[in-house]
Each structure stands twice: as structure tokens, then as C-alpha cells.
Amino acid sequence: MKTSLLERLPWKFRKAMPEFEADERLLKVLHTHWMQFAPLLLVIFPLSLIIGLLVAGLTLPASSLLGTTSLLLSMVVSVLTLHWFFHLILSISLNDILITDRRILFLSSKLWLRDNMHEILNRRINAVEVSKKGVLQNMLDYGELWFDTGGSESQDRTQIVPYVPHPYHWEKQISDVIARIKRAE
């Protein structure tokens, strides 16, 4: 008999999940803005170093110590760069924002270093604020959403979701959901 993917996933993942209500509905899954990948452009510096060392290593005679050292250094830097680059790109691609009719989940990870899940219950949210700072955020239409849960401060990083694409649109959507919940109460 064919088993579903849910049944085949390891049971231990169940522990790290919030308890969902039976009628809870997923409204939207948002991926954070691509500007998060901007630090990857720094790869240009190690790349130029690798090319420089490689050229030096290959042009010098095979018996020269300097040539061999250059090649070995080039190898070490290239391996480190490869792992740094993919560690960063894979970590960033794991940042997701889930909006349900009961809660907002902001999931962020840095492989082996950090695995965060911020959960903000919609009924606890008093207001949603948008913050767009600087030319880039305004030009590319992304920013931060801050959820005021009463007593929380805008400096409290656990209440802030960064790199939200089209933040004003999502502020309106979330505010509408919260207004519906409050009317129902």
C-alpha cells in the first residue's frame, strides 16, 4: 500500500512544531525578499584571490615552492568559499513567513548555527506596523513588519519580520484578518 509523504517523514520533526487547531487555515506562504541574497555578491573577493593564486601557481615552475604554495592556498580558499557560499544561500532559502487565520509564523534558519521559529498569535496582535528604511527598501518595495502585541517594543527583534516583500499589502491583509477575528469575538 502506498504511504503518504507525511507518514514517511521522521517522527522527530513533530516535536518542533506548534500545535495547530483543526480548522486552522493557511492563508499565505511568503518567501522573504531576494535582497537578502545581496551578501552573496561578496563572493567576488575570494574569487579574485583564487584566480590570482591559481594563475601564480600555474605560471611558476613546477619545482618552485612558491608555485606549489600558491596552488595549495588557492585550493583551500576555493573550498572554503564554496562551503561559505552554499551555506549562506541554503540558509537564506529556508527563511519563510507563514500566515494562517490564527497565527503568523516566521521561520529562519542558519544551518547548524540557528533554527528559529517566531510565532505570533493573531488574536494577540493590537496593530501591525510597516517600516521601510533607506533608498533600496523603498525602491525595491520590501521592509519590516512589526507586530504590536501590547507591551512589546519596536526594538524587540522577536516581534519583527524582516525582508517582507510588499509590506504595505501584507500589513493590510493581516490587519483585515485581525479585524475579522475581533468582530467575531
Binding site: 517523514l9 564554496l82 541554503l90 529556508l94 507563514l98
Partner: protein, 78 residues
Amino acid sequence: MNAVVIFSLSIQILSLITGYVIMAEYRKIRHRRARLFMELSQSDGRMAARQGHVLLWIYGLLLAIFIVGWPLLLFVRS
């Protein structure tokens, strides 16, 4: 030159282990997300579980090229 090849091979083995560890952690978190999406949307989370597969393939391919290529380059040059 033997010392150079041995050094290079040890770096490549360490690199292989690092790559495997990073990929395994990524797959673990991706599967956990798939479970999360499935529980919430009552859909099969196949798509969520498969996300990032292309990245993993590129990473694996580059790693393989590095692991074979560097010691080979050093060996040929010697």
C-alpha cells in the same frame, strides 16, 4: 610532492564531510517545513519537500569537481 597530494586529499576529505553535513541539515529542515505546510494546508507537501533540490545538485556537483579536480591538478603539475 607526496606531502602536497596527501595534504590536498585530507582537505578534500574534510570538504566532503562538511558538504555532506550541510546538505543533510538542509534536507532535515526542508522536510520539517514540508510537514508544517502539509498540516496547515492539508495538501501533500511534496513540493515543499523538494524545494531547493536544484541548489543541492549544483552544490554536490561543484563539490565533486573540486574533490577530483584539485588533487588531479596538483598531480599533473608535479
